[in-house]
């Protein structure tokens, strides 16, 4: 517990010393959504609501995946990870600290993006905004967990960034935005069924449509959170204390 708190504080302090990263994290999703909004604004049948909602789930996932995989890779190559592993800090606490720190950053990111999207871009969002933020944060933590896991398989930052399209794009293609899931080939739908982003996007679409919170939404959030927990456990397993 102490180790988690210390790690969370440390990672947030590192972010604070890097204001440009912080600003990019907070405003880039809103700017990109704005671009989509302008793209479709004058069209009679605008897909903006559907796409915008999906992007609310994709942004935190992509950004946190990239940031954590690089941050963890730096820990590995700079020797700080080796040192941390000789201290009383447990591997679980280290990873939980990363998840908490970037989860908190994701809260700020989601609040900014959702506020801008609903006020400036008139994104049609009927469900409670707090739940939208929760889905975004669950997605962000999933990104963190997969980023931590991916960093174990990368030897350099060049390799680490290449994992991003590998992990993100298939989930994005199959999440139901480009082709409705019911219309996909059976096997693709089966793949889509086991990809966590599918559930985050489903929850966000529900939140767009329904004013009341449905059981489906909670189930979707639970699936995303469960996938994040699983990825964190796998990341902990790849974090070897003894190396050759």
């Amino acid at each position: 517990m102490n180790g988690t708190v210390a790690t969370t504080g440390r990672v947030l302090r590192q972010l604070r010393h890097d204001p440009r990263t912080l600003v990019l994290m907070l405003v880039v999703p809103s700017l990109l959504l704005g671009l989509l909004y302008l793209l479709w604004r004058d069209l009679p049948l605008s897909p903006f609501d559907g796409v915008g909602l999906t992007m609310l789930g994709v942004f935190p996932f992509v950004v946190m995946f990239l940031v954590t995989s690089i941050a963890m890779l730096r820990e590995r190559t700079s020797g700080t990870l080796e040192r941390l592993l000789t201290t009383p800090l447990s591997r679980g606490a280290l990873l939980a600290g990363y998840g908490t720190a970037f989860g908190l950053a994701a809260v700020a990111q989601a609040v900014v993006t959702v506020t801008v999207a609903t006020t400036l871009y008139d994104l049609d969002l009927r469900g409670p905004l707090a739940l939208v933020v929760l889905v975004a944060v669950a997605d962000a933590v999933l990104g963190v967990a997969l980023g931590l896991l991916a960093s174990a398989f990368a030897r350099s930052e060049f390799q680490a960034v290449q994992f991003m399209p590998v992990v993100v794009l298939p989930q994005f293609f199959l999440c139901g935005l480009l082709v409705p899931r019911e219309q996909m080939a059976g096997w693709l739908q089966a793949v889509s069924d086991v990809l966590p982003l599918t559930y985050a996007v489903e929850a966000l679409q529900e939140l767009g449509r329904s004013e009341t919170v449905t059981g489906r939404m909670w189930a979707d959030v639970a699936v995303v959170a469960g996938a994040a927990a699983l990825a964190l456990a796998l990341a902990a397993a790849t974090l070897r204390r003894r190396t050759s």
Binding site: D18, T80, E82, T87
Partner: protein, 240 residues
Amino acid sequence: MDDAVTVRHLVVDRGHRRVLPGLSCAVPAGAVTGLLGPSGSGKTTLLRALVGVQRVRSGEVTVLGEPAGSPGLRRRVGYVTQAPSVYPDLTVRENARHFAALYGRGARAADDAVATVGLADAAGQLVADLSGGQRGRASLACALVGEPELLVLDEPTVGLDPVLRVELWDRFHALAAAGTTLLVSSHVMDEAGRCDRLLLLREGRLLADLTPGELRTDAGTADLEEAFLSLVRRGEGVSA
């Protein structure tokens, strides 16, 4: 005197190379022991085995009465890696406070450790903006902050100016006088004279375990560099 560390028949492979082919040695408690040997002789590998981050093939390493790498040892052993392992995007103070928190210590202990390594004036500076020698001292502060019983230091004085080097060695001896065991590696033989005891390593084998005085009389020269070389030559003569 008790031994803080005992190593028996330690075999370590790195890559396809056998780096330690069956090393046995001991580190006395409450003293400053120097681990000396040329670059590539296996010093870092041995230290990594002591702190429990090196995968070993066989052999036994006992640290403060427990097998190396035991969870209980993580509070009792401090390790400073050869390359400074601190966060460049944090200040010196923030680094020290982070490691203090991991060891269950407060901000006071962190600030003391920073002052101890002579970085009080640079405490608010980002580590990225420090000189190489300062960075090494910041790294050292992050180990001192845990007040470990055993301090394992991998080439801590490389790149330091002579004045600072003397100050650090004085600090090491003060710690030893207070009961801390120190194991300090170096590839510079002129540091050997500052140790209470020397472990001389060459190609993963223990060449000698003696005091600096013994090394000088043994080799018949006051120059420790010279003495080390004559020991190497003698060893080669025997094995040939």
